[in-house]
Symmetry: C2
Subunit: 426 residues, 2 copies
């Protein structure tokens, strides 16, 4: 067949190729080789390769537009949000992104992690309002369409829950069980600075109290400096409008700050001279130290990384394996990710996928040949400020073990002689 095809191709060239710049005579073009010339039943001449014409080539497939809004292949039905089992209720709960099943840095909207405190409201955008008031010259009540008329901006940033993972969750089975409360997308909206300028900030304004339109009326205090820097009021996520679970139709977005402060379904921005001390910045989202005092207003998510492949519940084979994972920092760009394949004795710099973006997931990769002996693998991120992701011991030495949030410790995977990967945290 190969010879036959070659002859056919030669004939084609003689028939159709009229000059060296690959211009063909249009009139005879319709007589060219039919589609599917290669879809024959014969093996190619070099090697006994199975042509293996599968069933799905023998009849037309599904119609164009049979899914006006597309969904994944049925064969990917297990790639879903990681939802904790046997919770007493799911109104205030979380689901995790299946990071071990994903590639690259963009999280598809259907798999964004969730953390809600009063369930997901279904909001009619035509009825929704954003009020800006307090220490302003001109209080504003804006519709969603009003917000969309202001100058816009699009930025790729991660979003992460500050309890990712809690100290007690360090024994999770999968990468998602451990740090699946992180996702990354392209966010489009209005710089918050522009809206505040529109209202006119009065002297003495130091905080913006943001309130969500959910049943929890989630409320957090944001320093005015962040609001005048890179904060946004966002309406789109990966091109389309925000998903309901992500704050449709409007949310606060604070690049690099803990997820809870990025108020979803935002309905009110109250400009004040002091924070409101809401539940989520006093009894929750603070870190109890050994001294009995608590760290409060711990805005930034520090540098973190995790190997997503190979990772827990996966199985590898001897020989070549690419080690890959994600790294991120609330303080800016990832500068370096080191990987160890000997339990932390030695480290090797991984390759970072370009472009490395500020406050975005960064994909890292390291080629590796596994000899079949049991090993512990781990990654360690360094951000552009020079900050290095700590071990759990380094992290908890000053902070103690009473804390819950802001655990950015190095995560370890144990690979057994049979290739099975399990949690390797102590």
């Amino acid at each position: 067949m190969d010879q036959k095809r070659k002859d056919s191709a030669s004939r084609s060239r003689r028939r159709f190729l009229t000059d060296s710049t690959a211009i063909i005579g249009g009139a005879v073009a319709a007589a060219a080789a039919p589609a599917g010339a290669l879809a024959d039943d014969k093996a190619p001449s070099n090697g006994n390769l199975p042509p293996n014409v599968p069933e799905w080539m023998k009849a037309p497939g599904a119609d164009v537009g049979s899914q006006p809004y597309g969904t994944p292949s049925p064969f990917e039905k297990n790639v879903i949000r990681n939802i904790p089992k046997n919770q007493p209720q799911y109104t205030s709960s979380a689901s995790r992104t299946p990071i071990q099943d994903l590639d690259g840095i963009i999280t598809p909207n259907g798999l964004f992690y969730e953390r809600h405190h009063g369930g997901i409201p279904e909001i009619d955008p035509a009825q929704h309002r954003l009020m800006i008031h307090g220490l302003v010259d001109k209080p504003l009540v804006l519709t969603v369409e009003d917000v969309r008329r202001f100058p816009s901006q699009s930025r790729i940033h991660f979003l992460e829950c500050s309890g990712n993972p809690s100290y007690t969750a360090m024994k999770g089975k999968t990468a998602s069980d451990l740090v699946g409360l992180v996702s990354c997308g392209e966010w489009t909206g209005v710089p918050l600075k522009i809206l505040l300028q529109e209202a006119g900030i009065k002297p003495g304004a130091k905080w913006v109290i943001a309130e969500g339109a959910d049943a929890a009326a989630m409320t957090r205090s944001i320093p005015i400096e962040k609001c005048l820097d890179d904060a946004m009021i966002v309406y789109s996520q990966n091109g389309e409008r925000l998903r309901p679970a992500q704050g449709y139709p409007l949310r606060v977005f604070l690049p690099g700050f803990e997820g809870n402060m990025n108020i979803k379904w935002v309905r009110r921005l109250h400009i004040t001279d002091e924070p409101v001390y809401s539940r989520e910045e006093t009894s929750k989202y603070t870190d109890l130290l050994p001294s009995g005092k608590a760290r409060q207003f711990t805005f930034y998510m520090e540098a973190k990384s995790i190997i997503t492949r190979p990772s827990g519940t996966q199985k590898i084979e001897k020989g070549f394996n690419e080690i890959t994972g994600i790294a991120w920092s609330g303080h800016g760009k990832i500068a370096k990710v080191d990987v160890s394949v000997d339990g932390g004795k030695s480290w090797k710099a991984a390759t970072l996928q370009e472009p490395v973006l500020t406050r975005a997931l960064t994909r890292f990769r390291l080629p590796w040949t596994w000899d079949g002996s049991p090993v512990v693998i781990m990654s360690r991120a360094t951000d552009e400020t020079g900050y290095v992701q700590p071990s759990f011991e380094e992290l908890t030495k000053p902070r103690g073990l009473n804390s819950f949030y802001h655990n950015n410790a190095i995560m370890r995977w144990q690979i057994a002689a049979n290739g099975e990967v399990t949690n390797g945290n102590a």
Copy 2:
């Protein structure tokens, strides 16, 4: 209430703030202000703003994880693929991305444009094989898992049908009707170069004939230079596995080349010394010139742009409007987008959203104040090679009007005195 809240906040500060570094006593933190402190029924003190506590704040919303794989808000139900009406069949047809409804540069997977010639096959990845044969030292038959073991790469690139739009489609109503056969995503896969090196290319190899596992056995010839440059065999799109309509489980990806060559559901790569002259590179996907000859192997998608807001069927109001749209070039990065709001008499440089990526959509924006008089607006892209997007007249002068593909002409929108936007192409 404002005063009341201020008093309460002051009390909070007195009660909880123990030093200037914002450390609070952990033991008493649990007694802090309850969530929803701002969700009262009273108007704020400055201005008679409606507090307008909506229904959806008065009862818990949907459970976390109620959508294991999330979907858009029901209020966005009209943001779907743009499917042509009254086609004789939809096995070989196209659907368009609703670009006028999208922001940023990432197209969500559910809204990627489609162009199929034999419908969408439903492929079991465990049964799928990729064969590499022909002018190689060692023919290969790879499983999907084999392909995933090779070193990987992630890149954000656009994908565009070469008939976007056909010359006769220049009277479409919406931006999607005109150039909605373009989408952009983050693609992850193996550099094709690595797979070809694995097989070992023999001297004389000049083309790679790629064949899809669909009922059309879509077959195209790719120059070996592209295959050894930035071509990929892709398995993931925006983080998750390829959607069936995008080639699940494996597709060819050729950054900047016309969509049809990016063979979906790829099952075979035949390395040859000459092209196969399949139907889609002879009778189709060639450009018939006035001379009767046709341009063939017109791989690259040239620089193009379109204003997506304001655009056809939208309506604007007097005063400030942000003009925004997308630009892209198969030859590299977009260097500049000029916008005219006076029918092409004068042009002003738009702002390009960073990062500007090679062979990716680039979002451009221009602030504009509309005085209410009828105008024609349009955009004109220049890429990093210096190539400037032509007017339809400039494009068709050498090429004539018999062609169908590779129309990258400037698109015009007419804005009437009442703010209604319609197609302004001649």
